[in-house]
Every structure is written in structure tokens, then in C-alpha cells.
């Protein structure tokens, strides 16, 4: 539908990925880190869709569906872990969560 050069679209996906990367590096709240990981996964999927539109093959879209499933599984496990961590430590700070051992 659009007739844009490939560069601009790939660079847009790159900008989104870099924003997610900055979010992962900067934030101390584990919740925001999970959101930034979602942004990065989504921009990786965007690259697959761009490739699929460029070569007019369905493989890129198939990969996006797999990325979607991986993201859903990752989010469900991650959010369950966040809830457990919050009930245990009463904080979402990643620097407070540095002990793997149980308290007792």
C-alpha cells in the first residue's frame, strides 16, 4: 500500500528497538523493564513484517505469529514472577531483588 524506501522503515524499527533498549538499561522498576522488553519484541516483529512485505512471502508474517506467542508466554510468566516478588519484598526495585535464597 505504501511506496517507501526500505531504509526508512528499517530505521523506524531500529528507533523503536533503541527506545526499548534505553528503557531496559535505565529503569529500576522491574515492571517498566518488562514493558520495554515488549517494545523490543514488537520492533523485532516489525522488521519481520517489513521483510515479508519486501519479498512478498508469508514467512515473515509466520515469524511474527511465533514472536506473538513467545511474547504472550513471556509476559504471563514475567507478571506472575513480578507478583511473587512484590509480595515477598514489597518493592519492585531490581536492585533489592538480589537474593535467590529463601528468607527462612
Amino acid at each position: 500500500m505504501i511506496t517507501l524506501p526500505l531504509d526508512i522503515q528499517l530505521l523506524f524499527a531500529g528507533i523503536l528497538f533503541m527506545l526499548g533498549l534505553v528503557g531496559v538499561l535505565v529503569r529500576r522498576n522491574i515492571f517498566f523493564i518488562l514493558m520495554s522488553i515488549e517494545i523490543m519484541l514488537n520492533s523485532a516483529g516489525l522488521v519481520f513484517i517489513i521483510a515479508s512485505a519486501y519479498w512478498k512471502q508469508p514467512e515473515g508474517q509466520a515469524m511474527f505469529i511465533f514472536i506473538l506467542a513467545v511474547a504472550a508466554a513471556e509476559v504471563s510468566i514475567g507478571l506472575a514472577l513480578i507478583l511473587r516478588v512484590y509480595h515477598h519484598y514489597r518493592t519492585l526495585d531490581v536492585e533489592a531483588i538480589n537474593k535467590l535464597k529463601d528468607k527462612e
Binding site: 500500500m1 505504501i2 511506496t3 517507501l4 524506501p5 526500505l6 531504509d7 522503515q9 528499517l10 530505521l11 523506524f12 531500529g14 528507533i15 523503536l16 533503541m18 527506545l19 533498549l21 534505553v22 528503557g23 538499561l25 535505565v26 529503569r27 529500576r28 522498576n29 515492571f31 517498566f32 518488562l34 514493558m35 520495554s36 515488549e38 517494545i39 516489525l46 513484517i49 517489513i50 515479508s52 512485505a53 512478498k56 508469508p58 508474517q61 509466520a62 511474527f64 505469529i65 511465533f66 506473538l68 506467542a69 513467545v70 511474547a71 504472550a72 508466554a73 509476559v75 504471563s76 510468566i77 507478571l79 506472575a80 513480578i82 507478583l83 511473587r84 518493592t91 519492585l92 526495585d93
Partner: protein
């Protein structure tokens, strides 16, 4: 039609910036929904209408609603105060420098190949379904197992367990 791409891309980038700089988790999640919706517009413009619908239904609909439900179980007011303490401006400097350096690397890599234009040619959902359920059927089955593991893991981690001792070890 190219104007729509630039508008959607601008909305996506601005709302993503609000996500990574936001202090209130709910507001950040709503900006993330806006970002995913605008990326869905871009998918539609890239001749992938089925993927655009999946993006709206699964990402913006299911995954972010899961985020919002979990946010309701956390104490947002206290977390917001802590967030203001954690997020100092000088913490942004080094990660942003690193990310911009990597981005220029990417620009160089993209610009070093001759430029092409994406032309018309829609991939129908029928072709996608044929590709998934014939050539990539093992991958679909592995994905199904992954989702099953996700369900079991989320149930296991999310359930509040009582500590049950053996009846001989139980403290009276």
C-alpha cells in the same frame, strides 16, 4: 499513503518515549497501547491486514490488559513516589549514548546497501495459513508446548501456597 506511515511512526515513537520516561505505571501502559495501535496501522500499510488485526487483538487487547490487571494488584501510589526517587536525569546519559551509537551503527549498515522501494503485493491470510500449517507445522507445535508451559508456570508461580509439612514434622 506515505503520509500515513510518517504520522503513525511519529505517534509510535512519541508514545514509546512517554512509556520509557513515565513515572505512573498505568499512564505508561496506556501510552504503550497507543504505541501498539499505531504500529498496527503501520502493519496495515505494509499489506499485512491479518497481522494488524492480531496486533490489536493480542498485543493491545490481551497482553496489555494482563499488564493492567497486574498493575491493579500493586500499590501504584507508593511505587510512583519511589519512581521519582530512582529516575535521576544523570542516569539517562550513558544508556542514551550507547543506544545512539548502536543506532548510528544500524544507520550505517542500512545505508551501505543500495536503497530499494517496497512495491505493491499483498500477502493474503490464506497464504499465511498454508505456510504455517504445512511448512512450519513443527514450529506451531513447539509454540503450543511453549504456551502450555507458560500456562503451567504462571499458575505455579501465581498460586499462593500454604506451607504444608509432613504430619510427623508438623510443629504442634
Amino acid at each position: 499513503m506515505n503520509g500515513f506511515f510518517y504520522i503513525a511512526a511519529g505517534v509510535a515513537i512519541i508514545s514509546t518515549i512517554f512509556v520509557i520516561t513515565g513515572k505512573n505505571a498505568i499512564h505508561a501502559l496506556l501510552y504503550l497501547i497507543v504505541s501498539f495501535l499505531s504500529i498496527s496501522v503501520i502493519f496495515y500499510l505494509l499489506d499485512a491486514p491479518f497481522i494488524a488485526a492480531l496486533e490489536v487483538i493480542i498485543y493491545a487487547g490481551a497482553i496489555l490488559v494482563l499488564f493492567i490487571f497486574v498493575t491493579m494488584m500493586l500499590n501504584i501510589v507508593i511505587e510512583k513516589k519511589k519512581e521519582k526517587k530512582w529516575l535521576k536525569p544523570r542516569m539517562w546519559v550513558i544508556p542514551v549514548i550507547l543506544a545512539v551509537t548502536l543506532f548510528f551503527d544500524l544507520v550505517f549498515a542500512v545505508k551501505s546497501v543500495p536503497s530499494h522501494t517496497i512495491e505493491k503485493g499483498i500477502v493474503l491470510p490464506k497464504e499465511l495459513g498454508i505456510a504455517i500449517f504445512t511448512r512450519y507445522l513443527p514450529a506451531v507445535e513447539i509454540t503450543a508446548i511453549l504456551l502450555l508451559i507458560g500456562v503451567i508456570g504462571a499458575y505455579h508461580l501465581g498460586s499462593q501456597k500454604k506451607k504444608v509439612f509432613h504430619r510427623f514434622l508438623e510443629k504442634k
